[in-house]
């Protein structure tokens, strides 16, 4: 274990790591663009220079391996000057785009300039103009002028997604990042290039211009897009959720996440949610508060005997909720007819080799465990086989209806039953197909509750409340309480509502925190 001194602090590090990694371990600031912990070393930006005692020239920290007794610093005048003018070179042809650049606020160029730059540019030549607003497929827009040619994105497509779309073309100041003949960059992990791009050269179409990043707050959560359960940061403000970015987790997703998972925020936002509880009476929908609907549903359910009730459950709830729910089904409803509804039983175990899995539920493993505990559980087809036996069904439905493409057809089957009690977070036109005595109970989504999800590997991960979008929706535990006829204290929720309502329209609508 070599012992080294960084900026006067000594640290013992593992053999064979680079100086920049040692800096990161110490949490000492060091400028860098091209180095990324999840990618190989390129050593092209020359911004991570450090001074090593005994070495007359500055060395790059990202490509120099530590040796015992090394004395390194990056805060001497010499290093600072080198970084400063290195930055000037990067900015020679960089456009003055910050006002319209989505990266502004989280841009490494801006950060480094404020930290190391603050020079007057000494370049008298005109800037080299390159192509802007290049459409790179479904999710990405490229601005070649803003690119600093760090090659992170190129290395990502070479090493991680292994799709090799991106490359750097031409030479000298005409070098341009891009795809061959502007072929679209449509791999399943393409938006990661936007995350790792230290500048605003690659921007996400989905997020483009929708918010300035300084209006957003982020909190850690778990992606509920599939059973991998990638760690993510959720970026939100009072208007809702705007994007997800991967959060490093060495046990699950490393530094990456898939593009599909980035879309899950859409079903969480208010536009797609079931806002009010609804029930159908004499062919017409009535809407009430969620808790009223749940109470009514509970009353109706009590009119059926245990063997007339089927229970359908999806792996889209936390372990705690599922435990309470299955417990309720077994002990309170007294039914053993509990069925596990899977989004695609045929492609259930599909895996694309990196992250994405065919099981589009964050907590199928957790559900299976709970079902095993009570020695119950069947499949959708078991339910269909015995459907005439049942009169009522209680559904702990999927939070993300998009993950269940055959929803309409499934609803068609369930509509044959007399009474359907359906806990759902999302609204969908397909619900219109349900008959009288249908109760739709609005649920919270994964960002609005805390609990644990068990991923495909059996790893239990905690989620915490990120934000509250619909304060009167219920979680499954509360729904169960109401179904059995107990009451739930909503006074705290009302306070949340008041807190939002008191603020001026411009404050709430604009998205200040």
């Amino acid at each position: 274990m070599p012992k080294i001194t960084l900026n006067g602090k000594s640290i013992e590090v593992a053999d064979g790591i680079t100086i920049i990694e040692a800096y990161k371990q110490l949490d000492e600031p060091i400028a860098h663009y091209c180095w990324h912990p999840g990618l190989t070393i390129a050593g092209v930006c020359r911004l991570c220079v450090v001074e090593i005692e005994g070495n007359p020239r500055l060395q790059i920290a990202c490509n120099t391996v530590v040796q015992d007794g090394m004395v390194v610093n990056n805060n001497s005048e010499k290093v600072k000057t080198a970084v400063k003018w290195g930055l000037d070179f990067h900015l020679i042809n960089h456009p003055l785009d910050c006002p319209i650049c989505d990266q502004a606020g989280e841009c490494e160029l801006q950060n480094q300039y404020m930290e190391f730059g603050k020079y007057d540019p000494e370049m008298a030549e005109h800037k080299v103009k390159k192509r802007k607003v290049v459409d790179l497929g479904e999710r990405i827009v490229l601005d070649t002028e803003r690119c600093i040619l760090c090659s992170r994105c190129v290395r990502f497509t070479n090493e991680v997604s292994k799709t090799n779309e991106l490359g750097i073309f031409n030479r000298g100041d005409r070098s341009e990042v891009g795809t061959f003949e502007d072929k679209p960059l449509n791999n399943k992990y393409s938006v990661n290039t936007v995350d790792i791009c230290p500048v605003g050269a690659l921007t996400s179409k989905d997020f483009r211009f929708r918010q300035r990043v300084w209006y957003l707050k982020d909190k850690p959560s778990i992606c509920t897009g599939c059973s991998t359960g990638c760690s993510v940061n959720v970026y939100y403000n009072e208007e809702g959720i705007f994007r997800l970015k991967p959060r490093f987790n060495k046990d699950v997703n490393g530094y990456w996440m898939c593009d599909e998972g980035r879309d899950i925020y859409k079903h969480i936002n208010k536009e797609n949610r079931m806002v009010r509880g609804r029930y159908k009476k004499d062919g017409a929908w009535c809407s009430t508060l969620p808790l009223e609907t749940a109470k009514k549903a509970g009353e109706k359910l009590r009119t059926y005997s245990a063997d007339q009730i089927a229970v359908l459950v999806t792996g889209q709830y936390t372990n705690e909720e599922l435990d309470v729910f299955v417990n309720y089904a077994v002990n309170k409803l007294g039914t053993k007819n509990i069925f596990h509804w899977k989004n695609n039983p045929d492609g259930w175990n599909e895996f694309d080799g990196l992250l994405l899995r065919g099981d589009k539920n964050p907590n199928s493993k957790g559900l299976q465990k709970v079902l095993q505990k009570h020695t119950v559980g069947g499949e959708w087809k078991d339910l269909v086989n015995q459907i005439d036996k049942f009169k009522a069904v209680v559904v702990a439905g999927p939070e993300n209806l998009q993950a269940y493409p055959d929803l309409k057809e499934k609803i068609g089957t369930l509509a044959r039953l007399e009474c359907v009690v359906w806990a759902t977070a999302d609204d969908n036109i397909a619900f219109e197909g349900l008959m009288d005595f249908t109760y739709l109970i609005p649920q919270k989504t994964s960002v609005e509750k805390s609990g644990h999800f068990t991923n495909y590997n059996g790893l239990e991960q905690k989620v915490d409340v990120v934000t509250t979008l619909l304060s009167d929706s219920l979680n499954l535990e509360e729904t169960v309480e109401l179904l059995v006829g107990e009451s739930v204290d909503m006074s705290q929720r009302e306070k949340e509502d008041m807190h939002v309502m008191k603020k001026n329209y411009f404050t709430t609508e604009r998205g200040r925190l």
């Binding site: 319209i100 483009r208 929708r210 411009f506």
Partner: protein, 174 residues
């Protein structure tokens, strides 16, 4: 109470105060009748006071040469605004040389404190505080100004042109 009344003081007597006040008023009145041109008051609203062009009054969104709005929807004004009264919705422009523009730009002038920070924050001279100050309205909603009002209200006669020219900037190579 900061007014200290001394018992028995002359200022407590009613008539001397009234009379000296009336004498002052009459003197001014007679003076004004004979020196009409020197009168400092205005017959508002028939006559209006013209402030200097530097007066920080009603906001103006400037326009480009072609009459389209100059603002790039960078939201720096909204960020800088201490009253949080600017609301901007940005969108992707059809024209790739513009890229980003506001489809909605609203200022709630009842919340605005006319500090001019928005003008200072704007990197492209897209918002200015104009000399207009007189803006009556019947109810609260009349005071949320949108792009139409801020950039193209009739008083602006087709819009104020920004002094920052995109083509010049481009030719200069920045």
């Amino acid at each position: 109470m900061s007014i200290v009344k001394k018992p028995g003081a002359i200022s407590n007597w009613y008539l001397p105060g009234i009379i000296s006040g009336m004498i002052f008023t009459l003197r001014k009145m007679i003076y004004n009748i004979f020196h009409k041109d020197k009168m400092p008051t205005l017959n508002y609203p028939e006559e209006k006071y013209e402030y200097s062009p530097r007066f920080k009054g009603q906001h103006v969104l400037t326009v480009k040469k072609d009459g389209s709005i100059r603002c790039t929807a960078c939201m720096l004004c909204a960020t800088n605004c201490p009253a949080q009264c600017i609301k901007i919705v940005a969108a992707e422009s059809e024209d790739p040389s513009v890229e980003k523009y506001p489809i909605n730009y609203e200022i709630d002038v009842l919340r605005c404190v006319y500090c001019g920070y928005c003008e200072e924050a704007c990197p492209v001279d897209a918002i200015r505080m104009g000399p207009e100050w007189q803006k009556p309205g019947a109810n609260g909603s009349n005071f949320t100004y949108d792009i139409q009002e801020l950039a193209y209200r009739p008083q602006l006669k087709g819009g104020i042109e920004s002094r920052l020219d995109e083509q010049e900037r481009h030719d200069f190579g920045i």
